[in-house]
């Protein structure tokens, strides 16, 4: 019996056709995938980038909408929410307790006189009180009473560069946030020294909180230990995790 001789060269045209077809197919599916995913092969990233860009657009839209002379509505003493809700990125019992005598408010950045402040010195500055609504990014709201130094007065006193773009805050609980200068200079923005709750209760921000009724709650830092003025957006604890930076009310 004669065995049929099989030679690869006899099949070359067919093999080439199959190879060509496979190449086209693979090329097509790769192309389709790239189109769907915005060229990164990871479509989550394209969506995230779009949402991030929209959040920065919303920063600018809110800054444009911000009226430096428009006051937040004020309320009567009887309307204050009691007990005032506690909210932080940690449990209530972990709120920092700061010794009033040893406390110093540090200053840095674009500030002429960056000597630290004691509580007694802050108390000696002109004081104001307000009863305003605290609106949380989660949706709930509460009315509270705060007292302290109008923040504009404080910034003027220390010789802060008011043409700078940002004011940043660092806190004893490792929290941080930052705001735009127009919001810092708003007449109701307060370097608060008196807080909701009964005397001696420290969890709402003792000894220094920045109360900004034109911003959502998380833009109102508690237990502030350092204030700095800068032209580079410092971001913040929640802002860096994806919450909108401007977050105005």
């Amino acid at each position: 019996m004669k065995r049929p001789k099989i030679s690869l060269s006899d099949f070359r045209p067919q093999i080439e056709r199959v190879e060509r077809r496979l190449f086209l197919k693979r090329g097509l599916s790769l192309g389709a995938l790239t189109m769907l995913s915005g060229c990164t092969l990871k479509d989550d990233d394209a969506v995230d980038r779009l949402l991030f860009a929209m959040s920065r657009f919303n920063d600018r839209a809110q800054a444009a909408l911000f009226d430096p002379n428009k006051l937040a509505p004020v309320y009567e003493e009887a309307e204050v929410t009691t007990p005032f809700p506690f909210n932080a990125f940690y449990e209530e019992k972990l709120a920092p307790v700061i010794d009033a005598e040893n406390y110093r408010l540090r200053l840095s950045g674009l500030i002429d006189n960056n000597a630290p402040w004691t509580l007694r010195e802050l108390r000696a500055l002109p004081q104001a009180t307000q009863i305003t609504r605290h609106v949380c990014v989660e949706g709930w709201s509460a009315i509270g009473k705060w007292g302290g130094v109008p923040f504009r007065t404080f910034l003027e006193r220390v010789g802060a560069d008011m043409t700078a773009r940002y004011v940043g805050f660092r806190c004893a609980d490792n929290y941080s946030t930052s705001i735009d200068m127009p919001s810092a200079l708003h007449p109701q923005t307060l370097l608060a020294l008196d807080f909701p709750g009964h005397a001696g209760e420290t969890k709402y921000g003792f000894p220094v909180k920045i109360r900004i009724p034109t911003k959502l709650g998380f833009k109102n830092p508690k237990h502030v230990t350092e204030i700095f003025v800068t032209n580079d957006n410092p971001g913040g604890y929640w802002e860096d995790k994806g919450y909108n930076w401007f977050s105005g009310s």
Binding site: L50, L51, F52, M54, S55, N58, L65, F66, D67, K70, L71, A72, P73, R133, V135, C136, V137, E138, G139, W140, S141, P213, T214, W238, K241, G242, Y243, N244, G248, S249
Partner: protein, 207 residues
């Protein structure tokens, strides 16, 4: 078109511009509702939460990012639609008259499966339903702005009865819209030959 004139099968029922506006609106409304449910869950107003599997955004910050991105799409698209509807007479032709008597009768017929579907003309039930949907979206937007900017737009917030009342108005506007969507999708799928024209613009050929 004069009354009684026969429609040719290649007549456009829904102009291209309106079809585009419709599907952009559908996308924006769904994004707003699903991300809104995730935001609601962060601080539930009533004694329940939305199942996380039916929400958008993954967590509060993600849901807020979706919500505040899609709101521009929803608002600008709606503005284009309203301008078109008023300037071309589309609203007047399609949504009027809205007398309660005939509307109620047509609604009853629609739920009984006896509604008369003349291509290019809405019966009273449809007219009432679409006006209801548009008003629900407008109420959702206005109450949403009142929640978003209770200081800068405080006059609007006061109009809604204050911040906490505005949250409830926003919730019920969403509820009204979901109610409409369930019926609308039900009829679009259930009534023969009404879904395709919203995509192609042309009535389905009787073949």
């Amino acid at each position: 078109m004069s009354a009684g004139a026969a429609r040719k099968s290649d007549d456009i029922l829904h102009p291209l511009l309106l079809r585009i506006v419709h599907w952009i609106n559908a996308f924006a409304v769904i994004v707003m509702i699903l991300s809104g449910w995730r935001i609601y869950n962060a601080s539930p107003l009533f004694g329940f939460e939305f199942p996380v599997g039916f929400t958008l955004g993954g967590w509060l910050a993600g849901a807020l990012a979706w919500h505040f991105a899609a709101m521009w799409l929803l608002g600008l698209n709606l503005l284009a639609y309203i301008l078109y509807g008023i300037l071309t007479g589309h609203f007047r032709r399609r949504f009027l008259p809205l007398w309660p008597g005939p509307v109620l009768q047509d609604l009853k017929d629609a739920f009984a499966g006896r509604a008369v579907h003349a291509p290019g003309r809405y019966h009273g039930g449809q007219r009432a339903a679409y006006v209801f949907a548009i008003l629900s979206i407008i109420l959702a937007i206005v109450s949403g702005l009142a929640i978003w900017k209770p200081v800068q737009l405080q006059e609007l917030t006061a109009l809604m009865g204050g911040f906490e009342a505005a949250r409830r108005v926003h919730f019920f506007a969403m509820g009204a819209l979901v109610f409409f969507i369930v019926l609308h999708v039900g009829f679009a799928v259930g009534v023969k030959g009404v879904l395709k024209p919203m995509i192609t613009g042309r009535p389905e050929r009787a073949e």
